[in-house]
């Protein structure tokens, strides 16, 4: 009898759970904050306003396919802001590129191409750029974009972006008429268009009124000209973007950040899912269509799941930076001794978990980049030579001084790499000590040469080597005339070949002087449901042409 009661009770509890799970299935009109709708559907026909002939031929097939109206993307952190001018953040840039547009951006071949600009001409001395704007481009608030907005936006960007300030200092934007602006440079630079087409912390065009109302903490209205407009930002939960119906398509086929942007799925939810396991589980159950930054150590395991598709893209370098100014670290032989210890394969494996997710190359830029990819200084890279290190230590007069490796566990790859480097240094007899802090504290230590001997960070690729952090005094305190001269030589070279050769020389200097060393090139790992269409993992994951069958 008692057994019967217990069974009935158990049955009741299970029934309740099943009822809950059934009742709570996503509804057609779900506006819930975290309930990704999987059944809100619309036909493919209504989502493709510009069907071409080829699509017409496939009409029968596409009529049969219905697509979700909500795209759910699991991202790793809450964006600190949606103001792209002032913050160097992948998450801010990744969302921002769907809301805002710049004058110029990179196409799929990494060539600067017009987006909000229509055309431009350059004066004979190379100092004045006259830029014609596209007419009829609307902001999300319904206003038309005109020269006043461009001048205000570009001036603010020049003021807030560290790299813009460093590379285009003294540059002035001025209005000529409502659809024409001029950009006047203090010197003629070969890389101006590359700097303007930056993907991270990019020169988005905001309405002038938004900039006029901005405070020290940034803009408070997030209005751009992009294919999506901000519908809602629920802090620590999601950023909801919705299709901008009055979006004026740029010319040309979709290519990188340029060309056609269809807003193929009307609503995008960027959901903040900080835990790796939760992102994976959510993707496996279909709660999320796309998950950013998958845990690399689980790549092999997850690659076997036929319901998932992976996109791997080499996106940056893991780097070791030396203190070059204080104590024993000011000794070049000491720094060379440390470089001689490094086994980069071990370091990268510990950091990225799978050999297919990194490559070993001494270059500071993308090795596939025809202009900036370089092997210069390779004799100092990945030496794994403990005996040589010991000799150099002797030469440097090393007397068991403490070598402080500063790191943060907030970035797993940086932390793991630091521990491996510590072990390698200890093998050579170096008194290596790891000091681990949370990110904000790490940043304080990193900025002060009195508080570190070396540190490791992962840094995204830059479009031009002159944008590299290693070349700025603020980053690790490197202050050498060779660096400043090298930057000027690269920027003012007469031809691209000459620029490339000058960069080879500067990269060689960085290794020879022992300023810093690349440890390897890492790949970003994105996962999507296998049926996701139109996804482009470019500098950022681009979602404007993504469709997911319902």
């Amino acid at each position: 009898m008692k057994h019967g009661k217990l069974s009935r009770l158990l049955a009741l509890v299970l029934s309740c759970m099943m009822l809950l799970s059934a009742c709570g299935q996503p509804s057609n009109e779900s506006t819930s904050s975290e309930a990704p709708s999987t059944s809100t559907e619309q036909s493919a026909e209504t989502e493709k306003p510009a069907e071409d002939k080829k699509s017409e031929e496939n009409k029968d097939a596409s009529e049969a396919t219905t697509y979700k109206t909500e795209l759910n993307v699991a991202m790793t952190a809450n964006p600190p802001t949606l103001d792209v001018h002032g913050v160097n953040s992948n998450i801010v840039g990744g969302i921002g590129t769907h809301i805002y547009e710049p004058l110029f951006a990179m196409n799929q071949n990494y060539e600067p191409a017009a987006v909000l600009a229509d055309s431009y001409t350059v004066s004979e001395d190379g100092k004045v750029y006259t830029i014609k704007l596209r007419q009829g481009v609307k902001f999300h608030n319904g206003q038309e974009m005109v020269a006043d907005d461009v001048v205000a936006s570009m001036s603010r960007w020049l003021e807030l972006s560290g790299k813009a300030k460093a590379l285009l200092d003294g540059t002035v934007f001025e209005k000529v008429d409502d659809y024409t602006v001029t950009m006047t440079l203090p010197e003629a630079y070969a890389d101006v268009m590359t700097v303007l087409a930056a993907s991270i912390q990019f020169p988005a065009i905001y309405p002038k009124s938004v900039i006029d109302n901005a405070s020290a903490e940034g803009i408070t209205e997030y209005i751009g000209t992009g294919p999506y407009k901000l519908a809602e930002w629920k802090q620590d939960q999601y950023v909801h973007l919705t299709k901008f119906e009055e979006y004026t398509q740029p010319a040309g086929e979709s290519s990188g950040f340029t060309g056609e942007k269809l807003a193929a799925t009307p609503d995008i939810f960027f959901r903040v899912v900080t835990d790796d396991s939760t992102r994976v589980a959510g993707l496996q159950t279909g709660q999320y269509d796309i998950a950013e930054e998958m845990p690399q150590e689980r790549y092999q395991e997850l690659a076997g799941d036929s319901n998932l598709a992976f996109s791997v893209k080499t996106t940056g370098t893991l780097n070791l930076f030396f203190n070059t100014t204080n104590g024993i670290m000011a000794n070049q032989d000491m720094r060379q001794a440390i470089m001689a210890c490094l086994n980069c394969d071990d370091i990268m494996l510990a950091s990225y978990g799978d050999p297919s997710l990194y490559i070993l190359n001494p270059g500071w830029c993308n090795p596939d980049d025809a202009m900036w990819g370089s092997d210069a200084g390779s004799e100092y890279y990945n030496q794994n030579n403990i005996e040589k290190a010991k000799e150099l230590l002797k030469k440097a007069g090393y007397n068991n001084e403490e070598i402080v490796l500063v790191t943060t566990p907030d970035y797993g790859e940086m932390y793991n790499a630091t521990l491996v480097v510590q072990a390698e240094l200890m093998e050579a007899g170096i008194n290596a000590v790891v000091e681990s802090y949370d990110f904000a504290t790490f940043m304080e230590h990193r900025a002060n040469p009195d508080q570190f001997s070396l540190y490791i960070t992962s840094n995204r690729y830059n479009l031009s080597p002159v944008q590299l952090s290693v070349l700025t005094k603020d980053w690790a305190g490197l202050d050498r005339p060779e660096v400043d001269e090298g930057i000027v030589a690269i920027r003012t070279a007469a031809s691209s070949e000459e620029s490339s050769a000058k960069w080879d020389e500067l990269q060689s200097f960085l290794y020879e002087y022992g300023a810093a060393s690349v440890l390897g090139h890492y790949s970003g790992l994105m996962a999507t449901s296998a049926d996701v269409e139109g996804f482009n993992y470019f500098d950022f994951p681009l979602y404007w042409n993504v469709k997911v069958p319902a």
Binding site: L20, S21, N78
Partner: protein, 316 residues
């Protein structure tokens, strides 16, 4: 009774003052300000310095504290630099999910633990008792995150009964609200149930062998009345204390569960605001949590008087 409650509330003031000054000092002393977190890894020291100055974080400690304290006295707990809202609004918004989760988890734990505790005590030494004690030991020993992962994988990924993460507000439907909360609530509730079961069992054991229970049986009362009316009522103060502690813990200490299940609650707010050095939010959350703890204990104390009239609060 009322004067007792007033005294307890007044005693909060020095507690909150000390807590606030300690937290403010700790946050002030650790390196890295909100500007560092706000501007990202490649921000220049100049831009960080400029923003810190703009936000007022380069001022001396006492100036900052006095400024904050005088604002608090006027009901202004400050602004969050990241959430771009007032601290009180932020706490209000993030407290909702935590409260829902805590109530559901507490209900689950009570449904499981009190009957099991009574049964185990009543059947002392039986297989039911041994199983209950072993299960509750296991429940206490298993780390909460492990249980969370298991529930997520089994009910979310394998059976697909429930979403693995996220939160839906109550206004958008009770069923959907519960569907998103059930796994984290189970995870928290099972751990709490283990603890409450043990305490219920032991307090019932203390009571069930008292003379008045024997007398009640001798009077011919039904066994259910003996256990539930005479036994449970007398064991209730201890069980209530444990439940109060458990609820206080659920409201204030669910950082891991909220992070794993992606629930935008007070735990998540605490963690993210520490990472972001969102000073006023940290201050606000700590004060709020202190307040909640004290209030929960006060409510428990008041309830004592109802379950056991011999306990008269405030009387000497």
């Amino acid at each position: 009774m009322i004067s007792y409650i007033l005294k307890r509330i007044l005693s909060l003031i020095p507690t909150l003052f000390v807590v606030s000054i300690v937290v403010f000092l700790v946050v002030y002393m650790i390196p890295g300000g909100p500007a560092t977190a706000l501007l990202g890894m490649e921000a220049t020291p100049e831009s960080i310095e400029a923003l810190n100055t703009e936000l007022g974080f380069n001022r001396p400690f006492f100036v900052q504290y006095a400024d904050w304290f005088s604002n608090v006295l006027q009901g202004d707990w400050g602004q969050s630099y990241f959430l771009q809202t007032s601290v009180l609004d932020a706490i209000g918004e993030y407290f909702g999910p935590t409260l829902s989760l805590a109530i559901l988890a507490q209900l689950i734990s009570l449904i499981i633990s009190v009957p099991l505790g009574i049964l185990a005590a009543y059947r002392r030494g039986s297989i039911v008792d041994v199983t209950t004690v072993s299960a509750s030991l296991l429940g206490i020993a298993v780390p909460g995150f492990l249980l969370s992962m298991f529930l997520m994988l089994f009910f979310g990924v394998y059976l697909k009964w429930f979403p693995v993460a996220g939160y839906v507000a109550l206004q958008e439907g009770l069923a959907e609200h519960l569907r998103y909360l059930i796994l984290p609530a189970l995870s928290l509730g099972l751990v709490q149930a283990a603890y409450i079961t043990r305490m219920s069992r032991s307090s019932m054991l203390d009571v069930l062998y008292m003379n008045y229970i024997r007398t009640a049986r001798a009077k011919g009362l039904k066994e259910a009345s003996v256990v539930l009316v005479y036994g449970l009522k007398n064991a209730a103060p201890t069980i209530l204390t444990v439940i109060g502690q458990s609820f206080g813990g659920l409201v204030t200490g669910t950082i891991v569960t909220e992070t794993l299940f992606n629930i935008p609650g007070l735990g998540m707010l605490t963690m993210t605001s520490i990472t972001r050095r969102d000073v006023f939010v940290i201050q606000g959350v700590v004060l709020f949590v202190t307040l909640i703890y004290v209030l929960v204990n006060l409510v428990v104390d008041i309830l004592y008087g109802f379950v056991d009239p011999r306990i008269q609060l405030g009387r000497k």
